[in-house]
Point group: C2
C-alpha cells in the first residue's frame, strides 16, 4: 500500500471553499452533511432475523460512511402501520421501508412476483434471476411508477409447508381443511377446496391447539421454534409454496436522488449485503432450531405431500397465474422471465445440489 | 429524510486544521488521503467469474469511498507468481491477494480447511459456518501468525466430479486411473489406487483428447464450457470433493491497521459482498453454460459415482483427515468444528432444499 498525499477532487474543492470561508460553518460542505434517513419496518421491535437485517444494514451504512449516513429504524409498535409501509415510503413520510413485496399485491398486483412463487426458484436461483437474469429490471418497472425503488431485503430460506394436525394423503384431504396460509398460496389451496384463513400471530398457537384451524404455515425452524407449534402438531410438511421468500428494502426515489454518489453506493451495497447475510443467518438459525426441535420433540414427523397432491396444487397454481397473465401484459412478461430462468437454472441445481445431497444422504444410511 | 446541517466529528476537526493552515496542503487531512492498495490475484487477466470478483470488489470500494480507496489488481501475467500470493501479501510486497486457501497447505497445513472439504458443507452451509459457526475465528487463528487476514472470496458453487473417458462402476475401476485432480482430493483418490497428476491448464484438453489422462476435474459448467471438455469426454460425474469451493481475499495486517475506520468497514463489506456475488454469478453462469452443453452435445451423460465408490472415497478421506488431526491440535479443532456444524445444518438442508428439489423433479416426470 502506498499512501499518496493527494486528495480526491471533491476534497480539494472543499479546501478551497474553507480557505475562502476561513472559519465558516462546516455546513458549507455538501459532502460532509449527515444524512438522516427514517426506515419503517413491517416487523415489531426485536423481531428475530428480519429485525437483525435492518439493524445490520443500518450499522454497515453508518460505519462505511464514517457516520454521514444515519438510518433510524421504526418498528411497527412505533408507526402502527405494518402493512402501510408501501404507502408511507411512497409518500415520503418514511425514506425507506423493510417489508415483503407480495404484501402489496392487493394494491399493485405485479408486486406479487418479487418475493417467492409456488413451485418457483430456490434462494440463490432467484438471486441469480434478480441480478443476472433480468429480475431487477422487471422489479423496477413495477415500482418506479410509485416513486419507489425496491431491492432484495433478505431471504428466509425455503419455507416449510406448515404444521398439520392430520396427515394429507390425498387431494380429498384438503377439502374443508382450515389452514392459516395467507396470500397467493392461500388462493391456490382454496382452488382445491381448502379454507384458508388469516389469524393474528398472537392467536395462532391457541387456534392450532384447540383445532379452530387444522394447519398453519409460518416460516421454517428459524422462526417457528419460538412459536411452539412443534409442541401441539405432530406433522411438519415440507415446502412448495414459498421456496425462496425474499424480503424487500424500499427506498423513496426523491430521497435517493438527494444522496451524494458515495452514499448511494454505500446504501445500495449495505442493503445487498444485509439481504445476503439474512439468507446465511436463516440457514444457521433453521439448522440450529431444527436440531433443537428434533431433540426435544423426537416424535415430530416430517412429511412430503404425496405426488398427486403436489400435481393438483401445481395445476391450480398454473391456472391462477394464467388468469393474471391474461389480464396484464407485464404480469405475462414477468411470469415468462421467471419460468424461462427456472428452466435454465434448475437442471444445474439438479446435477449439483440435488445430486450431492442425495448422494450424501444415501451414504448416511 | 432530513438534511441536518451539522458535520460529524472528524469533519469538524478537519475544518479546524484547515482554518489554522489557511491554504495549507490537503495532505494535512488524514481522512481525506487516497489509499492506493495493490492486489495480486492468482488468476490470469480477464479470467471469467474469479477475475470479475476482484474487479467487483475494487469497484465497490472505490465508489463507496468516493475515490479514497483505490485497489489496483495485478493478474498473474503481471506478478508472474500465481502461487506466490500468500508470500507476497505476507511480506507486504502486495497489500491484498485473491486466491484460494487450500493452495497454501504445503506451507501451512491448516489452510486446507477454508476452501471446501470432500463430503463437506454446501456453499451457504459453509457461509453459515464461517459467519455464525466459528469458522472466521478459526481461520484467523491459522492466518494471524503469518501477518495475514483471510476472508471468504467467492464461491464457485458445487464443483463437478469431472470429465471421464470411461465409466466408473466399481472401486476397481479407480485402480491406475490417470486423473488430473490436484490437492487433497487427489490424495484421497491416490489412497484408492488412482494416479492423480497435475497438468498445466493449457495442456488439459489435448491430454484428455489423446488419453494421456483418463479423466480430469476443473470446476463446473461455469468454467468448463470454454475448456471444451464436453466435446471429447462422454461422462460428466457429479461432485463429491469440493461441494463449496470458496476463494479467498488476503489482506496484509499492517496495511489493514493503517486504514481509517470507515475504509476498513468499506473494504470488509466490499470483500464480503463480492464473495456472495460470485456465488450468485457462478449459479447463473453454470445454469446458462450447462444449458448450452446439453443443447449442443446432447450425448453427454451425467453420472453419479456408485455408492460403493462413494463409501470407499469417504473412508479414505476420513483416514487422511484423522492422520492430520493426530499430528496437530488446531487441525483437530477445525475438523471437529466443521463436522459438528455439518451435523447440525444438514438435516435442515435435507428437509428444505433436498425435499424441494426431489419433489419438483418428481413432478417433472
Amino acid at each position: 500500500m502506498s499512501f499518496i498525499h493527494q486528495s480526491v477532487k471533491r476534497v480539494v474543492t472543499s479546501v478551497v471553499v474553507t480557505a475562502v470561508c476561513a472559519l465558516g460553518s462546516a455546513s458549507a460542505f455538501a459532502d460532509d452533511k449527515v444524512y438522516r434517513l427514517k426506515l419503517a419496518e413491517t416487523w415489531g421491535p426485536n423481531f428475530p432475523v428480519f429485525g437483525d437485517t435492518t439493524k445490520n444494514m443500518a450499522k454497515m451504512a453508518e460505519e462505511m460512511s464514517g457516520g454521514r449516513l444515519q438510518i433510524r429504524i421504526d418498528s411497527s409498535n412505533k408507526h402502527k402501520a405494518p402493512f402501510g409501509v408501501f404507502d408511507m415510503v411512497k409518500s415520503g413520510q418514511y425514506d425507506m421501508g423493510h417489508s415483503a413485496s407480495y404484501y402489496w399485491k392487493g394494491k399493485v398486483p405485479n408486486t406479487l412476483y418479487f418475493t417467492s412463487m409456488p413451485f418457483g426458484m430456490l434462494p440463490v436461483e432467484q438471486y441469480a434471476w434478480f441480478y443476472y437474469g433480468g429480475g431487477m429490471e422487471l422489479m423496477e418497472q413495477v415500482y418506479s411508477p410509485h416513486n419507489l425503488m425496491s431491492f432484495p431485503g433478505g431471504n428466509t430460506d425455503v419455507q416449510m409447508g406448515g404444521w398439520f394436525q392430520k396427515e394429507i394423503n390425498s387431494v380429498e384431504d384438503l377439502q374443508g381443511l382450515k389452514m392459516r396460509i395467507p396470500g397467493f398460496a392461500g388462493e391456490v389451496l382454496a382452488e382445491l377446496g381448502a379454507k384458508p384463513t388469516n389469524i393474528a400471530p398472537g392467536e395462532l398457537y391457541t387456534s392450532l391447539e384447540r383445532r379452530t384451524i387444522d394447519a398453519l404455515e409460518w416460516v421454517g425452524p428459524s422462526l417457528d421454534l419460538r412459536m411452539g407449534f412443534h409442541k401441539i402438531a405432530p406433522y411438519y410438511y415440507t415446502g412448495w409454496h414459498e421456496p425462496a421468500t425474499e424480503l424487500q428494502f424500499l427506498v423513496n426515489k426523491r430521497t435517493w436522488e438527494k444522496l451524494p454518489d458515495d452514499l448511494k453506493a454505500i446504501l445500495q451495497v449495505a442493503m445487498k449485503t444485509a439481504a445476503y447475510d439474512m439468507y446465511t443467518q436463516s440457514k444457521h438459525e433453521s439448522g440450529k432450531n431444527w436440531a433443537t426441535i428434533k431433540t426435544e420433540y423426537p416424535n415430530v414427523q416430517v412429511k412430503n405431500f404425496p405426488p398427486a397432491v403436489m400435481s393438483a396444487l401445481r395445476e391450480a397454481n398454473d391456472r391462477l397465474l394464467k388468469e393474471h397473465a391474461e389480464k396484464d401484459a407485464l404480469a405475462k412478461e414477468i411470469q415468462e422471465s421467471q419460468a424461462s430462468y427456472l428452466e435454465q437454472v434448475r437442471p444445474w441445481s439438479n446435477i449439483s445440489h440435488r445430486a450431492y445431497l442425495n448422494g450424501q444422504a444415501e451414504a448416511e444410511k
